[in-house]
């Protein structure tokens, strides 16, 4: 089946099995391996992408569902050479250890800060509670989101 969608701002039209998952399409077919898979059943958040700006789990979506949509993966988060302020905050605040949850965390954070540009720590914790991290204990991730939110507010 032909599926047309926009991936990180670039139009895509591909012939793909409609019942394969979006995470497979991204990783295997298109080589966008920044989107991770860690449970395959919607329990960990590692495969989070943005679909029309809203965070979705790409392991629970079928390729056919992308028809006509605009999706953003971690590779599209900072189109230029400069890191997105959220990415920069993750690096600066030490929010990254093994890094396997990071792309999903970042995508979920983009979604959060679009909805709430000034979340408190508890709101951040709630917004990221669907994204598991086994390394950090979350604290520095919360620090990073807090700091990125402040930085992005300052720029408005």
């Amino acid at each position: 089946m032909k599926i047309a969608f926009e991936l990180n701002g670039i139009k895509q039209e591909i012939d793909y099995l409609p019942d394969r998952r979006v995470v497979d399409l991204l990783r295997e077919e298109l080589g966008y391996t920044g989107t991770k898979e860690a449970c395959g059943s919607g329990e960990c958040g590692a495969c989070t992408i943005l679909v029309d700006g809203v965070s979705k789990l790409s392991c629970l979506m079928l390729a056919a569902q992308l028809q006509g949509r605009s999706i953003t993966t971690i590779e599209g988060m900072s189109p230029g050479k400069k890191l997105h302020p959220i990415q920069q905050a993750f690096v600066d605040k030490g929010a990254v250890q093994c890094g396997f949850c990071s792309p999903g965390m970042l995508m979920a954070t983009v979604d959060l800060l679009q909805r709430n540009p000034a979340p408190d720590r508890q709101q951040i914790r709630a917004a990221l509670s669907g994204n598991l991290c086994r390394c950090t204990g979350y604290q520095k991730i919360i620090d990073a989101v807090e700091s990125a939110a402040a930085e992005m507010r300052d720029k408005l």
């Binding site: 391996t33 030490g94 990254v96 093994c98 890094g99 396997f100 792309p103 598991l132």
Partner: protein
């Protein structure tokens, strides 16, 4: 621009950060080579059975199936494992747990792969199975591995100091309890993964998510019968490890697949369920303690019996037991002690290395005993610990000498003066309605490195590149702890460079040098020592060459800084590239082999236990505090505040140090409260992350970290390993807090809401 930044002690940003957060860093799971085949295992659904027939005929001709392999296709010994090579790559005569791989399928895609795995028919003759380690020690228990003198006992031994039986009767107070510890699943986010290929020259190259590329290579050569010099193992950054990738996971199957794929690359990536089923876990166990003291608060006698379930195969079950025994007396002087340990085979999944490596199990018990005993003599639990804690020069109750930096007393003192401790009574009394509060503490230690009988060696390699930059060849895998970014920090310090003057090669048996496992709190300690010396050697070579070239008279007249040499007397600035150009390639490479110091003293333990790693020489220490609040209506435990005071020597990078403290404490909180890996007669009951509950961002508090910086003379820049000590104390600190809140200890962990609710209901009924 900063020309010189002294990086040691600063929170230098991790150099792996940008690649990881932009999705560009390639993990083992991220490789999809051209024309690759998927490989996957058909696993046993019997816990213990003889294999009568493997019928692959239903799948041999399925479209999309490339090959189906069994043990008959393996040319080598078909056994992996360290130190005991007892685990088949593919089961041959029998299966020993539900999950043992029996056949390996190579397929064009995952759909066909799964179809074939489902269709393979294996005929079994079931054997009696045993799931409880105590039962497995019984005379007539079914044998997991025949022809072993010790039958199902993988390793057993004892440590005897004084006469604990007689001494116990001389104690003024004695406490006794039996603790049940659960399996803990590592649950790294990147499940076991890798790709492999045999090239035209017969080189079997494997890119795998592994903590042990060098050991894997040796094991693969033996198991698969392929020449060692024709095997290359590459370990990219891991998506987590925690001990679960300390050894072969998919590498044996991957290697086998690649040897039968007609030169095509092969990929494996376990599903979460397969990961839960097939990976090693923290050993569950029973730990029995009897602890006695005098009425002046002096610990006097201890009896401890440890039984660990190592499951179907040895993995690192022996060394884990040895470390459990070594850490069984914690940080205390106890003149009379008897410690008995048993690591036992059962038909359960495999127990293996997991951060803490035996210490969490025993410290969970001992540190609750300390509270129980303190209460018996009406002592403050912190004062009781201070009274008995070791200083440098002391011997612990397990007979382990504290010969190096030992700052557990300063850790305890930090806690003692902290508001979270001093204001505890007020905080407890202010509990809201239907809430109970308690504050608990726990203290402990963690050995660094491999112990006395296995040399802990790291071989560092650093190169001055022709353009004047440097390349570090990391020998130890980085599973997320940041040891390899820390290599940059160490070399930058020695060579006076900024971080951007370095490139980093991840472990690769072709390019980097063998430096042991990413384990045992040793990664930065051992490799860092080697690298520091290698970098120093390179620096001297650069300065000497500059003098040889007539750029100056004396080496000490030069200042090495980012990308250049400054000749101080003349003010001349010489680009490092110029010096590099005058050096031969072999001169620009500096290697240094470091061997960690060990303690070898006449021991009171049997040689098998010593061979398995008892005792250590360098220890990290910590004391943790947990404030817990229990919901009387649901039994749910909330950790309101958490404090960790840690002695891991000098802090090289405060940010990375805190990452370890916070992440380790939270993994320990999971072990304490939620992570309940359940098996029913060898059948996995918690097959996914919906039933095996990991801590989320909503479940844990911010963690306060206090670094108590002793100077460890043997560590690079005075540091000690911090990777494991951080996980050891959450369970006992939380358990002690809960016990103070509800008035009784719970001896079976995790300390679930269900257990608490039962206690609370019983209390209400009384």
């Amino acid at each position: 621009m900063t020309t010189y930044a002294s990086p040691i002690g600063s929170s230098l940003k991790r150099v792996d950060g940008p690649g990881k957060i932009s999705g560009l860093e390639k993990y083992a799971a991220d490789y999809y080579p051209d024309n690759f085949l998927w490989a996957g295992a058909k696993r046993s659904d019997h816990p213990h059975a003889l294999i009568k027939e493997i019928d692959i005929s239903p799948v041999r001709n399925l479209p999309g199936i490339f090959a189906v392999l069994t043990h008959e296709d393996i040319k080598g010994a078909n056994r992996v494992g360290v130190p005991e090579m007892d685990q088949p790559v593919l089961a041959d005569r029998k299966v020993r747990y539900k999950g043992d791989p029996v056949a390996l399928v190579l397929a064009e895609n995952k759909t066909v792969l799964q179809e074939a795995i489902d269709k393979i028919v294996i005929k079994y003759e079931p054997l009696p199975a045993v799931f409880d380690p105590e039962a497995a020690l019984a005379e007539n228990a079914p044998l997991l591995h025949e022809n072993r003198n010790d039958k199902n006992l993988l390793l057993g031994g004892r440590v005897v100091r004084g006469n604990s039986i007689a001494a116990m009767s001389e104690c003024d107070a004695v406490a006794e309890a039996d603790f049940q510890l659960p399996w803990q699943e590592h649950a790294y986010l990147e499940t076991e993964a890798g790709v492999a290929r045999v090239d035209e020259e017969g080189i079997l190259a494997i890119i795998a998510s592994t903590q042990t590329p060098w050991r894997d290579r040796n094991e693969l050569a033996y198991a698969l019968g392929w020449p060692l010099d024709k095997i290359r193992v590459i370990a990219p950054y891991l998506g987590g490890g925690f001990g679960g990738k300390d050894g072969i996971t998919v590498q044996g199957l991957l290697g086998l697949a690649a040897l039968h794929s007609g030169g095509r690359p092969v990929k494996m990536w376990n599903s979460r369920e397969e990961s839960f089923l097939s990976s090693t876990k923290r050993h569950p166990g029973r730990v029995h303690y009897e602890l006695g003291c005098k009425k002046d608060g002096t610990l006097y006698a201890m009896n401890c019996r440890i039984v660990l379930d190592t499951g179907a195969y040895a993995s690192l079950g022996g060394p884990v037991l040895a470390l459990a025994m070594e850490h069984a007396a914690g940080v205390y002087r106890i003149p009379h002690a008897l410690i008995e340990g048993f690591s036992v085979y059962t038909n359960n999944p495999v127990g293996g290395a997991f951060r803490g490596f035996g210490a969490p199990q025993v410290l969970a018990g001992l540190e609750q005993m300390m509270d129980i005993l303190a209460d018996k003599i009406a002592w403050d639990p912190l004062a009781f610990r201070l009274k008995n804690a070791v200083m440098r020069g002391d011997e612990t109750g397990a007979g382990v000498w504290m010969s190096n930096s030992t700052a557990i007393i300063p850790c305890l003192e930090k806690l003692q003066e902290h508001p979270l401790w001093t204001s505890r009574q007020a905080w407890v009394s202010q509990a809201p309605p239907f809430k109970l509060r308690g504050v608990g503490i726990a203290a402990g230690l963690q050995g660094t490195g491999y112990g006395p009988m296995v040399a802990d060696i790291a071989n560092a390699k650093i190169e001055l590149l022709p353009d004047g930059r440097f390349r570090i060849y990391s020998g130890v895998a980085d599973m997320g702890q940041g040891n390899n970014p820390t290599n940059v920090q160490i070399a930058a310090e020695v060579l006076g460079q900024t971080a951007d003057c370095f490139e980093l090669i991840q472990p690769d048996t072709l390019q980097t040098l063998p430096s042991g496992s990413s384990a045992a709190s040793r990664t930065t300690y051992s490799y860092g020592n080697a690298l520091k010396a290698a970098a120093l050697q390179l620096k001297e070579r650069i300065l000497t060459r500059a003098c040889n070239m007539g750029m100056g008279l004396y080496a000490e007249d030069f200042l090495l800084s980012s990308g250049r040499l400054n000749h101080l007397p003349s003010g001349r600035e010489i680009p490092l590239g110029l010096v590099a150009a005058s050096m031969r390639p072999e001169e620009r490479v500096s290697i240094y082999s470091y061997t960690a110091p060990v303690n070898r003293y006449p021991d009171k333990i049997n040689p098998d236990i010593r061979a398995a790693g008892f005792p250590h020489r360098v220890f990290a220490f910590a004391c943790h505090l947990a404030r817990v609040q229990i919901d009387e209506l649901t039994g749910e435990v909330e950790i309101s505040d958490y404090l960790a005071a840690t002695d891991a020597g000098k802090v090289l990078n405060p940010q990375l140090y805190e990452q370890q403290v916070q992440g380790g404490a939270v993994q320990g909180m999971g072990y304490a409260l939620w992570e309940d890996f359940k098996l029913d007669r060898g059948e996995l009951m918690t097959r996914n992350l919906a039933t095996y509950i990991l801590p989320t961002s909503m479940d844990v508090p911010d963690i306060l970290s206090i670094a108590v910086e002793s100077v460890e003379e043997s560590g690079p820049f005075g540091m000690k390993g911090i990777g494991e000590i951080v996980i050891n104390l959450a369970l006992p600190a939380i358990a002690n807090g809960i016990a103070r809140a509800v008035g009784q200890h719970i001896f079976k962990s995790p300390l679930t809401a269900e257990q608490l609710l039962l206690i609370l209901e019983k209390r209400a009924a009384e």
